[in-house]
Symmetry: C2
Subunit: 350 residues, 2 copies
Amino acid sequence: HSTFDLAQQPHRRYNPLNGEWLLVSPHRALRPWQGQQEAPDTETRPAHDPGCYLCAGNVRANGEQNPDYTGTFVFDNDFAALRDDVPAGDVNLGGLLRAESETGVGRVICFSPRHDLTLPEMSRADIRRVVDVWADEFRTLGARPDINYVQIFENKGAVMGCSNPHPHGQIWAQRTVPGEPAKESRQQLTYFEQHGRTLLTDYLAIELREKSRLVLENEHWVALVPFWAGWPFETLLLPRRAVPDVTQLTDAEKDAFADALRHLTIRYDNLFQTSFPYSAGLHQRPTDGQAHPEWHLHMHFFPPLLRSATVRKFMVGYELLANAQRDITPEWAAERLRSQPETHYKHPAA
Amino acid sequence: HSTFDLAQQPHRRYNPLNGEWLLVSPHRALRPWQGQQEAPDTETRPAHDPGCYLCAGNVRANGEQNPDYTGTFVFDNDFAALRDDVPAGDVNLGGLLRAESETGVGRVICFSPRHDLTLPEMSRADIRRVVDVWADEFRTLGARPDINYVQIFENKGAVMGCSNPHPHGQIWAQRTVPGEPAKESRQQLTYFEQHGRTLLTDYLAIELREKSRLVLENEHWVALVPFWAGWPFETLLLPRRAVPDVTQLTDAEKDAFADALRHLTIRYDNLFQTSFPYSAGLHQRPTDGQAHPEWHLHMHFFPPLLRSATVRKFMVGYELLANAQRDITPEWAAERLRSQPETHYKHPAA
Ligand SMILES: O=P(O)(O)O[C@H]1O[C@H](CO)[C@@H](O)[C@H](O)[C@H]1O
Ligand SMILES: O=P(O)(O)O[C@H]1O[C@H](CO)[C@@H](O)[C@H](O)[C@H]1O
């Protein structure tokens, strides 16, 4: 009697980057929410906090003192999940209990000495310094023969497990390629072998024609809500040119990256007039010494908020046991982000 | 200089049920936590809450009145993510934007009319009634030609997105087999074809010899922390006999299932002397009309708490972008659960 409508009816969408499917339930967006409310971050912070272990000049838990840095500051994570002093070894019981030792490094990157800022409140020039650190770290860590993958990411906001509001990100670099980038490697390689172009080059061309999922564009970068987005306001930030890693970006592309990061995070903050929590990170080629022309560098933003500064999406139950699932459509989310002002709600003059 | 030690050094473990790897960082368990604290559930609830849409006799959001049920009560979810009135249809743009309509049903199961109880506080006989509902629903839904998978689960606690403390679970049943059970199907089928026994039969035999990850046993069921557990106190509850779905359990096996559920959740509550939050659910054979002798029914418990009633594990950043990761070892978690008293801390006499 009726026809199938992506905006109204339950359906599945395919994620060509990881090969998995997502359940979309658009009609469910309006159910009442009587569950947990998040505490929005309303604290006013000083520019320097003597109790913060990331602020310039302060002493960390292990007794080391931070330098009086003025731009960015990078150091080895004092509680890293990965270490490089682990002896080789493995366990195998009947092919069912299998383990092998893993080596690697954990690094912390302070984005700014200012304890009271976040990326959307920093200048393009200051964010550009963060991009340069990402490139330097990727180059140095990636050159090590014992490191085959470098994961650069940021957890922002208490609701995303961030334990210190000082603007910072992390790097976990390790011997093996972790699950998610390994899936993206396989998918991108298959596509590249079949088409001679990267998967994201062709995907981006379609999205630039379709327009409904675009969030913002500049000369070198595009931010969009991917067709297969799992988190309510998930975005994908990618360069127009197929580049396997951040060290291969031109100077102009790095500036435009900083600019896109600034404007995307401003829109996020404006959406619910709150410091918008997320986990975000770069996906880049494995650092196994190969060129990986199939790899198209990109950045994922996974933000949990759904309806307001206090109501989030829970990835639980069905999502953990069965399948990723979302309630609002990616098209609707993109429209909401696209319609936000370009200046930060807290700093309208900037 | 030293030898590789699973209890002390970073390593990866393989999950044979889904074919993925997990990063384990045992040495990281002792890092200080300055991040978000959860609010433990300390509310005292009445046996009947006039404002609860799940309590007996109350009116739900859609105007329907619940019966005066005394055991369990099952109804169609008023805000189901799946519906069965969706017309067939699909979208395909360049193989990169792909969608297809999905049909299914959402059901809600009230475990008890008592608003103030949870599974660990219910009697074995009352939990047995819940097991019987699971079997009835699996049989009825699974018999429908348009339903090929039935996901039965429970979200417990506000931290796991549960919006009503009344003891209840859900069923999402649908046309396609979702991602997680599809992976487990492939892995179990490959193993069964190679060995002529289910993967979990052979895995369980090893764990019964090893003992270090066992939590509890009865005549027909075993609960253990799987070698590849991702969540801090994750457990796997499985029948000793390889049965593809809950309808094929004997009467004695169903009683023993209820008994194991009761004792496992009592240990969980005792661990941090709190109503222990989790997402839990059954994994069973697809209901596609095939026998699926490779499928070994089991139940996963994914609880987020890590160190106390207020400090949880966050699956963010590295976990979302790269790989599942845990800080304490499965062996240590099993030991903690094994050493809990068998009676509930709130009802020591029971
Ligand atoms: O259906 P509920 O309990 O309202 O909702 C809860 O469980 C669902 C299934 O696991 C999730 O999709 C929701 O995010 C969660 O809040
Ligand atoms: O390293 P942090 O910021 O203390 O910890 C946070 O990020 C890590 C990496 O995403 C996660 O494993 C932790 O669960 C989270 O709390």
